[in-house]
Amino acid sequence: MSVTADQRELRDDALNGLQLSTRLDSLWRTPSGFLGALMSVDHKVVGRRYIVTAFVFLLLGGVLAILMRIQLAGPEQTFLSPDKYNQIFTMHGSTMMFLFAVPVMEAFAVYLVPLMVGTRNIAFPRLNAFSYWMFLFGGCFLWISFALNVGPDVGWFAYVPLSSLQYTPTKRPDVWAQMITFTEVAALAVAVEIVVTVFKLRAPGMTLDRIPLFVWAMLVTAFLVMFAMPSIMVASTSLILDRLVNTRFYDSSSGGHPLLWQHLFWFFGHPEVYIIFIPGTGMVSAILATFARRPVVGYPVVILSLIATGFLSFGLWVHHMFVTGLPQLGAGLFTASSMLIAVPSGLQIFCWLATLWDGRPVYRTPLLFVIGFIVIFVMGGLSGVMVASVPIDTQVHDTYFVVAHFHYVLIGGAIFPLIGAVYYWFPKITGRMLGERLGRWNFWLAFVGFNIAFFPMHILGLIGMPRRVYTYTADMDWAHLNLLSSGGALIFALSFALLLVNVIRSLRSGALAGDNPWDASTLEWATSSPPPPQNFDRIPVVKHREPLWLDGESLPVAAGLSVDRREVLLTSLAEAEPQTREASPEPSIWPLLTALATTVFFIGSIFTPWAVLWGTPPMAVALIGWFWPAGSREDEE
């Protein structure tokens, strides 16, 4: 049934220009002061925090990588002890995967998706704020534990029985397992927000075949998160239960099975790779279209490839377990599916190459990073097809060949597009341009440094250097390649230092960007840089796939939303026809308090199962506070 709105409320069609902007600005603005900052539910504020925090974790994880490369630069070095090395490679992997790669992609989505679909805020803004606090507390918990010498040391994969109580009787694996729970809660929350934002908050007229490719990529990613991450949550929960209350999931003497851990972990772990990579492809599509000066060739092909990649990513996990003695039929099936996933990825690559071929490319820094991505990712993909084969995998398993492969696909497939995306969207987020000259230096140092660092690892793996060793003897003939690799790693690290310098310089004195400095086609460029709290004074109406290229100087918009209360426009799933004007939540301290209560619950439960009992009431109180409608304008009438 339908209920018509109260006619007394003021609508945006009653105001114009500066009057409307001012009114909406005050309505949607985050409250001032320290407390106000803690209450923010603006997707741009939360997204910025997410991005900055994730990059801080990248910096920390990168420092650990350099420490490892210093240790491995020569044979029989004593720069790091074996125990410290174990902690450092565990922290490096855990930080990069759980605290940087996945969160940073979701962070960009949190910031950009609402702008790109033409709405005023993300769906469930309080959940969004909660998710950030959970991510922050989980990350801090891991790193504080590391600083206090109780950080994990069983690898980012925490294989049992090494991570069981019998072999690691310290609290280190508990810290790891609980950090997983923190970050998964955060990631799952964002995934639901993204799905609902894309399904229901799109601008009128933004039909399914007009959604920007970056948004499509984030939608597929969100579904991957929703269907992959429950597996790691079940896995980490059962691991911590084995360690804390003597359950027997992985204890083979009581009917448990260590391989169950690997199945659960990799059922999440392989889609995880695509959770990191698919957003990168979305970034590539956005950047390519803008700098090739034409829409991406094969828009439907790219979308179908994204969806196919998402589906296939769930059929690969066993290729991580080829040497565990699985039945040959299973190994054959997973070899086929592992090779098959190269097809949709390849289709996208050809679409991008065709876009460049048929366009008029402008080689600015973002496009350089995209081209770097194509080169490096294709190389990583080729070694991926190699290790998809059981005979080859059997030979190179647990060697540096695998380390080289996954750094090629993860850094090539995600970091290069991501840095391109930083250069591309920095003007929108900050209102200032990043320096182009520094950007080019940044790219070439990254590209050259990366290849010098990681290409020799292929050879090291083929000549037998195992992963996860803290040193090697001089007679192994691995020293020269390791030294080369370490040198490359330093150059690669220097490229990130340049990026940091560029960001700081630009924030202080960068050229003003204007609304649309790249003459891009999507809706985030239709508003000012940085965007105002309300994103858009009036909600855009979409008539084309590239609205800013085809609508000329005048953007079609919809009027009629309230300016008395925060309101977002909901539209239908397929055709994006307007359906309702729903209230959007006001700023609130409760998401932070809920996250704090949850943190006490999670950390307490590492030390005593009773924390589950005494930790629950504060969480319940915080949740009731969160959902209770006190303070809502509609409820105060």
Partner: protein, 199 residues
């Protein structure tokens, strides 16, 4: 950038029911990921079942009566749940209040029964992998049930306050929708926990 107003959305309602509402899609999202969690847990159970020559390990199967009683109550609960749903669509506040109170009481009864079910599993969580996975799955669904009960109780209280605005009826229908998922989730879990050990 200049703007041209091409349509007016001022006459649209301020809330909707079912797929027209944002929270309904949020509930769908959480159902998807929780459903996946249950599926993964079921997969883990079946994996352990497959790799062990005897099942259950060192224990007799769970007593049937608590789980079976729950199945009956869950299935019967669909009737008052649907009553609440229809009353909410009609915006009939007195009947919605009655429906929510009944659903809250059903949730409490089921939680009490769940306590009996834990007591009648005939195994402890630390006896064997069988005990561990059974306790884990039941624990997951109990959390699921308890959180939904909490949600229902809060909503019930809300409907007795000045916050019982028209759009809250949409929240009630979302709560009804979610309860159906709680019911649906329990049926395969019941078959798994109570009948697979008897195969």
């Amino acid at each position: 950038m200049r703007q041209t107003i091409v349509r007016n959305v001022g006459d649209l309602p301020t809330y909707g029911y079912g797929p027209r509402s944002g929270p309904w899609w949020g509930a769908m999202g959480f159902m998807a990921l929780e459903g996946m969690g249950f599926a993964i847990a079921i997969g883990a159970y079946l994996y352990l079942y497959a790799v062990n020559s005897s099942w259950p390990i060192g224990a007799s199967p769970p007593d049937l009566w608590p789980g079976t009683a729950e199945v009956v109550i869950y299935l019967l609960s669909i009737i008052p749940n649907e009553f609440t749903n229809r009353a909410a669509h009609r915006q009939d506040l007195p009947k919605v209040r009655v429906g929510l109170i009944v659903m809250s009481l059903i949730g409490i009864v089921l939680l009490v029964l769940r306590g009996f079910e834990f007591a009648h599993l005939n195994t402890r969580w630390d006896n064997s992998a069988y005990g561990s996975i059974v306790w884990l799955i039941l624990g997951l669904h109990t959390t699921h049930l308890a959180t939904d009960l909490g949600d229902t109780v809060v909503l019930t209280v809300l409907m007795f306050t000045r916050h019982a605005k028209p759009r809250r009826f949409s929240d009630v229908t979302d709560n009804v929708f979610y309860w159906n998922f709680v019911v649906l989730a329990w049926l395969p879990l019941y078959a798994l926990l109570d009948w697979v050990p008897r195969l």
